[in-house]
């Protein structure tokens, strides 16, 4: 009776573990997909889409290795249909939140470029 009970418990624990691991893997997969989409949105010329993505990316520090190069690229080459100063501001905030020291040369280059870094739309 006792042995049967122990076996039952072990089986239950095993099933629970598998379900949890599966859930975590699925969540990881979801996050990867979300980050990929946000990085794509960053390349959008539409300011509303790109700005939302730049802000949201700060919530995924686990994906810093993929996010930072995309943000740096955006700082260097992208232009948006309006409010480019606000866009650069949002990117800089996210870089700061991600503690992306490797982005400093690009930030300095931007400061030297004469491109606007002032707020135009967002207070």
């Amino acid at each position: 009776m006792g042995r049967h009970h122990t076996m039952h418990r072990l089986l239950l624990a095993l099933v629970t573990g598998v379900v949890l691991l599966g859930g975590s893997a699925a969540r990881g997969q979801d996050e990867t997909t979300t980050v990929k989409k946000l990085v794509r949105d960053l390349e959008n010329r539409d300011w509303d889409v790109a700005h939302g993505a730049a802000e949201k990316l700060s919530e995924y520090p686990r994906f810093k290795a993929q996010i930072v190069p995309a943000l740096v690229d955006a700082l260097k080459i992208r232009e948006w249909n309006r409010c480019s100063g606000d866009m650069r501001d949002a990117i800089a905030r996210t870089l700061q939140a991600l503690k992306a020291r490797e982005a400093v040369p690009a930030l300095l280059e931007l400061a030297a470029s004469g491109k606007t870094i002032d707020h135009e739309c967002v207070e």
Binding site: A92, L95, R101, A103, V104, L108, L110, A112, D118
Partner: protein, 282 residues
């Protein structure tokens, strides 16, 4: 507007308006010094980059930062003052900061002088306290009483009794700006020994000095000053009405503002904040 807000504006974070510069200031290290110095040389974002350099650059960059102490733009000179307070090269920083503290009598110069005082406090607390206190002590004889006020405040913040004593003297100065700054400085270095001098200022000719005294008394966190604060509020509201009547009779609004502080501060808000502070636990 309250005196507390005036003090808050003096410590305004120049990086809060542009996240690109804030990120550079936050993330850069000494290896970026040359690129930041190049921006300054090119005339771009001088104030911010001088501050960022002060934070991370090797000590030899103090010479580079100091080179901009005579810049025509007071914001750049403020950047010099802030940067020199951060960089580790007191042999260069202290003399330049003393120069920045003593020079200029225009309203624009006040922020530079104030920042130089702040940086001397930072250096004095970090190390070389004796050298800084000696240099500040020499400034107590300066002919410009705003300079004396800022030097006294710095001495007081460094725990030198000469600073508090001088500030208490200056609360009775004939110049309203000096009285107000001395009183506000006593709020930054709260000491029960200043109570009598501050209580006297609740009856000052200028409403801006009265409001500053309310704020400074609140900073003492001594509940025994509350009745005096309540009384001072009522008397000041009456006085404000009298000044308003004088304005209506044709007296110059500019004089009433400058000499008597008409409209400078929200009296009730100032008194409420001071009473709340006085009743809070030290």
């Amino acid at each position: 507007m309250t005196p507390g807000e005036v003090l808050g504006e003096r410590t305004h974070d120049v990086f809060c308006e542009r996240a690109v510069l804030a990120a550079i200031n936050e993330l850069a290290d000494f290896s970026h010094s040359k690129a930041m110095a190049d921006l300054v040389t090119a005339g771009k974002w001088r104030q911010e980059m001088l501050m960022a350099l002060g934070k991370v650059a090797p000590p030899r960059y103090a010479h580079f930062i100091g080179r901009y102490k005579d810049d025509a733009d007071p914001n750049v000179r403020s950047g010099v003052a802030a940067g020199l307070g951060l960089i580790d090269n007191d042999a260069v920083s202290i003399p330049v900061l003393v120069q920045l503290l003593t020079r200029g009598t225009k309203p624009d110069d006040l922020a530079v002088k104030w920042q130089a005082g702040e940086s001397l406090i930072t250096i004095g607390k970090r190390k070389n306290g004796d050298t800084v206190r000696r240099r500040l002590g020499d400034l107590l004889q300066d002919p410009d009483r705003i300079t004396v006020t800022i030097a006294s405040r710095a001495l007081a913040m460094l725990g030198d009794a000469r600073g508090l004593a001088k500030l208490r003297d200056l609360t009775g100065d004939p110049d309203v700006r000096v009285r107000q700054d001395a009183v506000l400085s006593l709020a930054d270095a709260p000491d029960t020994g200043s109570k009598e001098a501050l209580l006297r200022r609740l009856g000052d000719d200028s409403l801006s000095v009265r409001a500053s005294a309310m704020h400074a008394l609140g900073a003492l966190r001594d509940p025994s000053v509350v009745p005096a604060l309540r009384q001072a509020l009522q008397a000041s509201i009456e006085y404000e009405r009298e000044l308003e009547r004088r304005k209506d009779r044709g007296e110059s609004l500019e004089v009433l503002r400058e000499k008597y502080g008409l409209g400078a501060f929200e009296l009730r808000q100032t008194a409420d904040q001071a009473i709340a502070a006085a009743q809070s636990k030290p």
